[in-house]
């Protein structure tokens, strides 16, 4: 059994609980032991850095130190958590001044970090630890004939000096996963672009145009469903899809799945187990087509 400290991030524990549930389902099937981190805090995304650089280091240094104490690496299911924790990890490993400063704080709460922890997103845990060939053999509900548009988003790819999972110019991990599950990956330029979530409450027009453009392109390429490895992208693409459609003058009705939900249905999960009723855009027609 592979063991990881499980860092679901905040959204998967609040509005996006279906993502947490789907991840637990998939982890069980794939024999991944997700060890809870009840003491871990929110990573703060890009925002905490803009509030106070050292606060970002302390808060996330604490999470890294907790995982180090547990003796395991961290598994994430959110792109932004992945990047934020990885950025802090790189900083603490490469900058002794930052590490000393952070350890001074950590010493006051009985912790210490030495830089041993790695942060890995579920997508690449499946690729590197399970293997797509092994995954293929576990598929009970083949997704044959389903056009699936992978939406990588930003923080699982960029900056590639920090998140080093895939080829930043031409990533393949997501497509290979889709093929292992029997689906047809849809090729489209927006797969590695921004969903606009960062400014969804700040500049709605800008944000909606970005999500709208991505959904519209996927629709034009005959996608039956979009899939994202990030709950923030999911909020932008699914929950705010109506605004996204208005932004690109198109009535959109594109179902959007979380990555573990896609793996989950291929591994035998049903509609309720994946929490599909919690999505804004209905997954009923697609689920019926797949036969779940």
């Amino acid at each position: 059994m592979i063991r990881y400290a499980y860092y679901p991030g905040c959204v998967a524990q609040e509005s996006g609980k279906e993502l947490d549930n789907a991840t637990r389902f998939v982890a069980k099937k794939l024999n991944i032991d997700l060890i809870p981190m009840p003491e871990a805090s929110c990573c703060g995304g890009g925002a905490l850095d803009g509030f106070d650089k050292n606060l970002k280091l302390f808060i996330n240094g604490r999470t890294l130190a907790l995982a180090e104490k547990m003796g395991v690496d961290i598994l994430t299911i959110c792109n932004t958590c992945t990047l934020t924790l990885s950025e802090v990890n790189e900083e603490l490993i490469n900058n002794s001044e930052s590490l000393d400063k952070t350890n001074e704080y950590l010493s006051k709460i009985g912790l210490r970090y030495s830089g041993k922890v790695k942060i890995k997103h579920l997508l690449y845990v499946v690729r590197d630890e399970i293997g797509f060939d092994a995954l293929k053999k576990m598929v009970v509900k083949n997704l044959n004939g389903i056009n699936i548009a992978p939406f990588y988003g930003c923080h699982i790819l960029r900056p590639s000096t920090v998140v080093k999972f895939d080829d930043v110019e031409s990533p393949t991990g997501f497509e290979e996963l889709i093929m292992a599950l029997g689906g047809e990956p849809v090729s489209y330029a927006n797969r590695t672009k921004c969903c606009g979530f960062q400014t969804i409450l700040v500049d709605r027009a800008q944000s909606s145009y970005l999500s709208g453009s991505a959904i519209l392109e996927a629709k034009g390429k005959k996608a039956d469903v979009m899939v994202t490895p990030c709950p923030l992208c999911h909020l932008s693409l699914d929950m705010y899809q109506s605004a996204a459609g208005k932004s690109v003058n198109e009535k959109l009705s594109m179902p959007v799945m979380h990555l573990p939900q896609l793996i989950g249905i291929a591994l035998g999960a049903n509609f309720a187990e994946m929490g599909f009723s919690r999505h804004n855009v209905s997954l009923k027609p697609l689920s019926e087509r797949i036969g779940i």
């Binding site: 905040c10 959204v11 609040e14 509005s15 996006g16 009840p38 003491e39 871990a40 805090s41 929110c42 703060g44 995304g45 925002a47 905490l48 850095d49 803009g50 509030f51 106070d52 650089k53 050292n54 606060l55 302390f58 808060i59 604490r62 990047l83 704080y105 006051k108 709460i109 930003c154 923080h155 960029r158 900056p159 590639s160 930043v168 110019e169 031409s170 330029a189 672009k193 921004c194 606009g196 979530f197 960062q198 400014t199 409450l201 700040v202 500049d203 027009a205 800008q206 944000s207 145009y209 970005l210 453009s213 929950m239 705010y240 109506s242 605004a243 009723s277 919690r278 999505h279 804004n280």
Partner: protein, 331 residues
């Protein structure tokens, strides 16, 4: 090795729409995409138009999209592109109107640079140290003396003063794709650079106030594309985040972008978690929540409403101590 260059073509004087044209050429060891384009222009098709000058990744003229990614043609070798994509596909920079073939209209980009006042503000500063005057006999020139430490945020091989204005970041910027009025990464990184310059005489934080206006620093979507694709190794997004921090520390917090950051920091201070409901309210206010009522109602009907009261994480005092250690308890 013979390989193909596929170029975007558009001449507004004769073409009604853009098209792509392929050229087959022979490579040579170390051939760059710019070498290939010049070979095409000189030997195959003199009408192919593109900007170039120094051929040494210094002038920034030959930025273009190469196999979908914005790069300097003079810094990009043909061989790895062919090995990866099988072809060299060249297109004009994104986020700017095309003038002809691979040449774009740069005016909008340079307007963003002008907008941030890319020069040291001196007006009204210490008269003794500025302006022109005749020295009296025996009088020595008085010059301000600065320490290296005062320039620490402006120096280094990968820092903002090394920007060559090539527009690679602007072309790749997702924020600009979503809002053409957005200042963009190059201008905002430059704004940070001037805000950190000890010689700058911006006593009333006008730079930070101007940068906080709509279409300014808070429209950065954090896509990281500017850092990823800068040919000089600069990270405009990191400069923008420092600009955010500086703006908030200067109490310029009335904008939705600043409110968003402060709301998240306060939420973590209180519960260790991101309180989705409170952050939304803190950022967009009641008016924003009313605007988003259809989304809120839909979320509620689907059971996706975040809890109104969040339970703090275990050992919450540890997180509070981080705020205390950094003097951020009252922020």
């Amino acid at each position: 090795m013979e390989f193909k260059v596929r170029s975007y073509r558009f001449n507004p004087e004769v073409d009604t729409q853009a098209y792509y044209k392929e050229y087959a050429i022979q490579d040579f060891p170390g051939m760059t995409v710019l070498n290939a384009l010049m070979k095409i222009k000189y030997e195959l098709d003199g009408t192919l138009s593109f900007r170039r000058s120094c051929r040494s990744a210094i002038c920034g003229s030959c930025a273009m999209k190469i196999n979908g990614i914005t790069k300097l043609a003079c810094k990009t070798q043909v061989k790895p592109e062919i090995m990866k994509f099988g072809i060299v596909n060249v297109e004009p920079l994104a986020n700017m109107p095309v003038v002809r073939d691979l040449i774009v209209d740069q005016e909008g980009f340079f307007d963003t640079i002008k907008a941030i006042k890319p020069y040291l503000l001196t007006e009204g500063e210490n008269e003794e140290l500025s302006g022109f005057k005749t020295l009296k006999e025996g009088e020595k020139i008085k010059q301000p003396v600065y320490s290296r430490e005062q320039f620490k945020n402006l120096t280094g091989n990968n820092d903002t003063p090394n920007c060559i204005l090539c527009e690679c970041c602007y072309s790749e910027c997702n924020g600009v794709s979503g809002n053409k009025k957005y200042l963009g990464p190059a201008a905002l990184a430059k704004l940070y650079r001037y805000s950190e310059d000890p010689r700058d005489n911006d006593r009333d934080v006008s730079r930070l106030l101007n940068g906080s206006k709509p279409d300014g620093m808070w429209d950065c979507v954090h896509c990281q594309a500017c850092e990823e694709f800068c040919p000089k190794g600069i990270s405009p997004v990191k400069a923008i985040v420092r600009l955010h921090e500086k703006t908030i520390k200067n109490s310029i917090t009335s904008t939705p972008g600043a409110k968003h950051v402060v709301s998240i920091a306060q939420s973590i201070k209180k519960t260790g978690k991101l309180d989705e409901a409170k952050v939304a309210l803190g950022t967009a206010g009641i008016a924003g929540v009313i605007r988003d009522l259809p989304v809120v109602i839909s979320a509620a009907l689907k059971g996706k409403m975040p809890p109104l009261k969040l339970e703090p994480i275990k050992n919450m005092d540890d997180v509070k101590l981080a705020y205390k250690e950094l003097g951020l308890e009252e922020k």
